[in-house]
């Protein structure tokens, strides 16, 4: 139900931002939660870095970061998501190939066990036109930071 709502919201946002570059801003998370939905990542020939700050997390739990990626280009993209470790890993996404205007949900999981204090982790989405060499690959970084309390 929640996913459906996110998808519908994203589609509306997609039409609003169809000709814009990456739009991602912190939406002001203050309360500890198990799942945090980040702003949609619009891919439009960009390598912009996003920062999402100010998260407060309970120690020892697992935290999920999820966001929608949307291909705003007029050709299919080969995407791959990765992480910079430190407890943050890919949980799931289903499609490597994203057709024009297509959406995909990417979910990361952050294991906080054994960690405390401030944290800053990086999620990465690399993309290239489908069928082209990796030399044409571009990388978008999404940083999430906050405190494990």
């Amino acid at each position: 139900m929640k996913s459906t709502f996110i998808l519908i919201s994203t589609c509306i946002l997609l039409y609003s931002f169809i000709n814009q570059e990456v739009a991602a801003e912190v939406s002001g998370f203050t309360n500890p939660t198990d799942t945090i939905v980040l702003d949609t990542l619009f891919v439009n020939e960009t390598t912009t870095t996003d920062h999402f700050q100010g998260f407060k997390i309970k120690r020892g739990g697992d935290l999920i970061f999820r966001f929608i990626i949307t291909n705003l280009l007029n050709y299919s993209l080969d995407i791959s998501a990765s992480s910079g470790d430190g407890g943050l890993i890919i949980d799931h996404y289903t499609k490597r190939i994203l057709k024009p205007k297509e959406l995909e949900e990417i979910v990361y999981i952050f294991h906080t066990k054994g960690r405390e204090g401030g944290f800053s982790k990086t999620m990465t989405v690399a993309y290239k036109p489908q069928g082209e060499s990796y030399k044409n690959q571009k990388v978008i970084l999404r940083g999430v930071s906050g405190v494990i309390e």
Binding site: T49, H51, S80, A81, S82, S83, G84, D85, G86, G87, I89, I90, H92, Y93, T94, K95, R96, H111, G114, R115, E116, G117, G118, F119, S120, K121, T122, T124, A126, Y134, Q137, V139, L141, G143, S145, G146, V147
Partner: protein
């Protein structure tokens, strides 16, 4: 099973072996600056251009951090390998004499370089990794310690045995300056004879004799290396094993155990458990051709029941996968099994990996060279002596020295960049932009319990309190590549460079390393790697969180920390960028392999056989607890050290 009979119980005359007595490690410790000066010509006191530290097993190491003040023991340059070895021979003579003279008034009888036992196992040039012209920049030699252990009663020939946890590595610049020196040994003070214990064995091959350096007993003494056990068996009264991990009791559990998925065959004849006295005069029985040799890597699947003595295993042998039952008791937990067939086992593991990485071919020129080096090496069948020498060389060159992490990291980064250093652009290669931090949580916390805890307090206030800097605690490692994060970390490293000189850690290798950082040198860095606190202590761990570390090939395996670094480099960079993955449910992943991934794959194969994986190499990665692309870099590093023995 291997047991020994002590001399009193023996009927035949004793076979005499040799035990070497050494100076204690405290001798090295007490005289470290002086010994360093005598050996390298460099005074290490307050010298930030060098790093000098003790080695855990015994001995010390010296590493030059910058180009200045290196000891030039010879005015002439090095012409070739023979010239290099000749110069080293002269150097050993002179240094032995200098050390004898220096300690003459203390009446300490010591032979620093035991030349009678030292045997070069490699001497090769090192080339510059940049520029169009391939030029020799330095030469490295590794010496093993080979000891005449006993006279064989049949052949009347002297049988030699290697010291396997020690050796000497020395690197000279092309101009003859000492760049690094690893003395994983203790100076010899004397030698004595001892009776060689007779063996009771159910093994078909002669148990191998090896020597071990024990810094607690100041001895280099002989041990039997059994193909059926992972422990060292004392071979004389003086043979006291160095500290080891205790062995585990036999069991055949049903469920998933991450530490018992990849296992190694200890002895194919273990079913025939008939004890016999090992007799030097008895004819030797060779392994049957039908048997898999000891040391072969197996994937242990779920047994039919807890009472079943056999366990189904899958394995790769001679070009394809097989499934067969093996006695549970024959499945060992480590790959340190050396037999006459170890070369064959290594070759099989190399061929297996080669078959798994074929899909990565022609994706990147630099990686194609890695594949070529593995393919070339796969055609070689190493002898047992080459395997023995390779182990010594690998341990001498690439072991983690926890007392000198900067020197260790420097060595690792050099060897990694030599085997795989992809271009970022026309003028820059990957490792030009990489900084691996040799700093650790333990180092920051060293003065925690002192009266004036300055460094630990600084760490807690500065590093631990800042989200961008708090990256030293955990069970794996992490990379920083975001521009803002990089600026913050670099700035704090420069602050720490100044601050550390006001603390008790000012003479540590880490402090010396920090002094060599400059704003300019940091400017080019685009990826900083942190190693977490627990990771530095890993020994046999299969995972560092979701990084699989089981990259072994025959008896060879790199430090878990080095395997983790190879994993970390792939965090969204030019390093193995094509190496993505697939989760057990078929969805995309990156190069991570979680324990859960291995468990899901293992359950599937235990239930339905290897065919259920449909030859998907990502699933094979999960099962073998090793991402094949990362494993290939680990193998290329190993090959670079053992291919020219």
């Amino acid at each position: 099973m291997l047991a020994v009979i002590k001399p009193k119980a023996m009927q035949e005359p004793n076979i005499i072996t040799k035990v070497i007595l050494t100076q204690p490690q405290s001798f090295i410790e007490a005289n470290l600056p002086r010994l360093c000066y005598l050996v390298t010509g460099v005074n290490p006191i307050d010298n930030k251009s060098v790093s000098v530290s003790l080695v855990d097993n015994g001995g010390f190491q010296f590493t030059k951090l910058s180009d200045e003040n290196s000891f030039n023991y010879s005015n002439a340059g090095i012409k070739d390998k023979n010239d290099f070895l000749k110069k080293l021979d002269e150097y050993f003579n002179k240094t032995n004499q200098a050390i004898t003279d220096a300690f003459a008034n203390q009446k300490i009888k010591t032979q620093f370089f035991p030349r009678a036992y030292m045997k070069p196992i490699s001497a090769s040039p090192n080339y510059n990794s940049k520029g169009a012209v391939k030029a020799v920049v330095s030469w490295t030699a590794v010496y093993k310690i080979e000891i005449p252990a006993y006279e064989n009663p049949i052949t009347r020939r002297t049988e030699y045995a290697n010291l396997i946890n020690g050796g000497i590595e020395i690197t000279l610049s092309a101009g003859g300056k000492i760049l690094s020196f690893k003395y994983n040994l203790l100076p010899v003070s004397s030698q004595k004879s001892a009776a060689l214990y007779k063996v009771v064995a159910d093994e078909s091959a002669v148990p191998q004799l090896v020597y071990l350096l024990n810094k607690n007993t100041n001895t280099v003494a002989p041990f039997y290396l059994s193909a059926t056990e992972t422990a060292y068996i004392p071979a004389s009264r003086e043979s006291i094993p160095p500290d080891e991990e205790p062995g585990e009791a036999f069991k055949n559990p049903m469920g998933f155990d991450k530490d018992r998925i990849v296992v190694w065959l200890m002895n194919p004849d273990v079913k025939k458990r008939k004890l016999k006295i090992f007799d030097f005069f008895a004819p030797r029985k060779k392994d049957s051709d039908n048997n898999l040799p000891a040391g072969a890597k197996l994937i242990r699947l779920e047994p039919a029941s807890e009472t079943d003595e056999n366990t189904p295993c899958v394995y790769w042998w001679e070009g394809s996968y097989h499934q067969k039952d093996f006695p549970e008791r024959s499945l060992g937990k480590n790959n340190n099994i050396i037999t006459e067939l170890s070369g064959q086992v290594l070759q099989n593991d190399v061929e297996h990996l080669l078959s798994r990485i074929s899909s990565y071919e022609k994706k990147q020129d630099e990686y194609d060279k890695v594949i070529k080096s593995i393919r070339d090496f796969s055609k070689k069948l190493l002898t047992k002596e080459q395997i023995d020498n390779g182990l010594i060389k690998l341990n001498s060159s690439l072991q983690l020295n926890k007392n000198d992490k900067p020197a260790t990291i420097l060595t690792w980064q050099k060897v990694l960049s030599d085997v795989y250093n992809p271009k970022v652009n026309e003028t820059t290669n990957f490792f030009d932009e990489v900084l691996i931090l040799p700093l650790s949580y333990d180092w920051f916390m060293e003065d925690k319990n002192s009266i004036t805890p300055t460094l630990s307090t600084y760490y807690e206030e500065t590093w631990q309190g800042d989200p961008l800097l708090n990256r030293f605690v955990g069970d794996s490692g992490e990379v920083v590549l975001d521009e803002n994060d990089l600026i913050k970390v670099k700035s704090e490293l420069l602050n720490l460079r100044s601050f550390v000189l006001k603390t008790a850690a000012k003479n540590s290798p880490e402090a010396a390393w920090l002094q060599n950082l400059t704003k300019e040198s940091l400017n080019r860095i685009k990826l900083i790697v942190f190693v977490h606190s627990a990771t530095w202590h890993y020994r046999t761990e299969k995972y560092a969180e979701s990084a699989a570390l089981e990259n072994s090939f025959g008896v060879f395996k790199l430090s878990p920390v080095l395997n983790l670094l190879i994993h970390e480099f792939t965090g969204h960079s030019n390093f193995l960028f094509f190496a993505t993955g697939t989760k057990p449910d078929g969805t995309p992943s990156d190069r991570h392999i979680d324990v859960k991934d291995t468990e899901a794959t293992w359950n599937k194969v235990s239930k339905s056989g290897l065919g259920s994986l449909k030859q998907n190499e990502d699933f094979i990665d999960h099962l073998y607890q090793s991402h094949r692309a990362l494993g290939s870099i680990a193998l290329a590093v190993i090959i670079s050290k053992i291919s020219n023995l």
